[in-house]
């Protein structure tokens, strides 16, 4: 035990980290829990099951699921192309994948709204077909896809890079065609990382506010997301109501985190066997 503590600074660094995290995270979050409980169980239940709130869950938790799944499909294709193929501009494209991490969400929000508004850019192209994107659920889906895009690509990419070439070669030697090799050999190896990426993208999209709120239109029961409801409750000084909704979102995010940790553990276990 003694040998693990050879380097000096344990007390200082750990003490500082714990005090900092307590002030920034633990105390404020305990306020969230206390405020959630302060109104009593019935008030909590009435707040989180109000029809307008339930409708916002469907928007926040439902549409982000579609966005995460679409990212799952296109993310794998993009990762494959970026890892396996050579073409001019590949490295630039690879670097730009992280744009949704770096671009402020408000900037993404107004840019996407402008692109898909009925009289601009793509919105104008889709108008003759009667497809409205901005200020509908489709717009929310677009913003959530944008914000979750890097997650699948970035979790799948390193696994693809580490794929042993000899396994694919062996499959080819044994007479498998390319599709069979992909589906039976490559895909099962990638699956845990694909699912992890989808979970992370889902987690991000569920809580997203900045890029969604501009394009959403924010109509109650239709395009209102749960984070926006938290803000409007705060504006009415309904602190316990806002805390209750915050608690629900926190619980869902925690569940998503547990799933993603479980998936990562599964992935590590499989790597250990291989």
């Amino acid at each position: 035990m003694g040998k693990r503590f050879v380097l000096p600074g344990f007390g200082l660094t750990l003490g500082y980290s714990v005090v900092y995290l307590s002030l920034i995270v633990l105390v404020p979050f305990s306020a969230l829990l206390v405020k959630t409980g302060s109104g009593g169980w019935e008030h909590f239940w009435a707040t989180v099951t109000a029809p307008r709130v339930v409708a916002s869950y469907q928007v926040s938790f439902g549409i982000s699921l579609y966005a995460a799944l679409v990212n799952g499909i296109f993310g794998v294709v993009a990762a494959w192309v970026l890892v396996r193929y050579e073409f001019p501009g590949r490295r630039l494209l690879d670097a730009i994948v992280d744009l949704p991490f770096a671009l402020p969400t408000a900037v993404a929000g107004i840019a996407l709204t402008t692109i898909y508004a009925p009289n601009d850019w793509i919105g104008e192209l889709l108008k003759p077909y009667g497809i409205k994107v901005a200020f509908t659920q489709l717009g929310i889906f677009i913003a959530m896809t944008f914000i979750g895009l890097p997650f699948v690509v970035r979790t799948v990419q390193p696994v693809m890079q580490d794929l042993a070439a000899d396994v694919e070669e062996a499959a080819a030697c044994l007479g498998a065609n390319r599709w069979q090799t992909f589906w039976r050999v490559v895909f099962p190896t990638l699956l845990p990382s694909i699912l992890t990426g989808i979970t992370l993208a889902y987690g991000r999209a569920v809580g997203e506010y900045g890029s969604v709120v501009f394009i959403a239109g924010n109509l109650p029961f239709k395009t209102e997301i749960t984070p926006l409801l938290i803000i409007s409750k705060l504006e009415q000084y309904d602190y316990s109501g806002a805390a209750a909704l915050g608690f629900v979102m926190l619980a869902v995010s925690f569940l998503i985190l547990l799933v993603s940790n479980g998936l990562q553990a599964w992935d590590n276990k499989r790597k250990g066997i291989a």
Binding site: V6, P8, I24, A31, Y85, A111, L149, A172, L234
Partner: protein, 300 residues
């Protein structure tokens, strides 16, 4: 060693693996799908920001920055980042040092806690501070008596920004310091160096690219944060509006060109961040590879 391996590597690249590659048409289709997907979701929004910023000409673009409220918002954003980023850099260093140099009970809980802001909604990041410091919050009456303002004032904005951005430096350092190990530090210790000397002369040079990587991401997020800041700011023009909030106000007032002008500044920041990040990532990988090469003789 480099000369011996470079030749076969080169010939392998010149002669792509036929048996395990896709047919040309599949390759083209997949590349095409990727290009369209990334162009539509990433390049087009970026292009639109600059296009709309200059849509009414250069004069309108530059006039946007003569608006005193816009200038104030730029100042506030710089101020908030100048406070939040150093705070979180020190925290990230301390946390990474304690988590990678020692084993202690509660270590994995601490790591989970550091990741927290990455998986909760930014709105919750603002909400928790309103619940503590808001007029109806825990410290509300006390703050009123002292006549201190935290919510709807600059301290609240700094707090919310600190909350949203504290994981970045720590997360950039932890995997790097874990992989590098502590052999050099132990050697320095046995030669009589004290803790600060070890940190400044041994550890810091080893981790500098990982550190820079974390600081860059932390700074980008600090300057661009919208959700958490929007909850605690109160949107008081010229006082508590950061750049992203100023963009929102201008946009909602249909002042599209000025809104996009401010947005173009933040987009430029994002592009610089991406470029620096890619470079720092590459250098950090080199440092990691160097560490792996040095430890190789012992493991084999």
């Amino acid at each position: 060693m480099a000369g011996a391996t470079s030749f076969p590597l080169h010939s392998q690249r010149a002669n792509p693996r036929r048996a395990t590659g896709e047919a040309a048409c599949v390759r083209w289709i997949l590349t095409g799908i990727t290009l369209v997907f990334l162009a539509l979701f990433l390049l087009l929004p970026l292009f639109v920001v600059f296009q709309e910023a200059f849509a009414k000409g250069y004069q309108v673009f530059f006039r946007a920055f003569q608006d005193p409220y816009t200038l104030k918002s730029i100042q506030l954003t710089l101020l908030v980042a100048a406070i939040a980023v150093p705070l979180n850099t020190v925290f990230g260093l301390a946390a990474a040092w304690s988590l990678t140099r020692y084993r202690f009970p509660g270590r994995s809980f601490l790591i989970t806690l550091i990741d927290l802001p990455l998986w909760v909604s930014p709105v919750i990041g603002g909400l928790i501070y309103v619940l503590v410091f808001g007029s109806h919050g825990w410290c509300g009456p006390l703050l009123k008596e002292l006549d201190w303002r935290i919510i709807f004032a600059v301290p609240g904005i700094v707090l919310a920004t600190v909350f949203v951005t504290f994981p970045f430096v720590a997360r950039g350092l932890i995997p790097l310091m874990q992989a590098q190990g502590i052999k050099e530090e132990e050697a320095a210790l046995s030669l009589g160096a004290n803790g600060w000397q070890i940190f400044w002369r041994i550890t810091l040079p080893k981790i500098k690219w990982g550190l820079l990587y974390g600081i860059i991401l932390c700074n980008a997020r600090a300057m661009g944060e919208f959700g958490a800041v929007s909850v605690v700011s109160g949107h008081i023009r010229g006082k508590t509006n950061t750049m992203p909030l100023q963009i929102e106000i201008l946009y909602n007032e249909y002042q599209f060109a000025p809104a996009f002008a401010v947005a173009s500044l933040l987009s430029l920041l994002a592009l610089v961040t991406l470029a620096l990040k890619t470079y720092a990532e590459w250098r950090a990988e080199q440092q990691l590879a160097a560490a792996a090469r040095e430890s190789e003789p012992e493991t084999t």
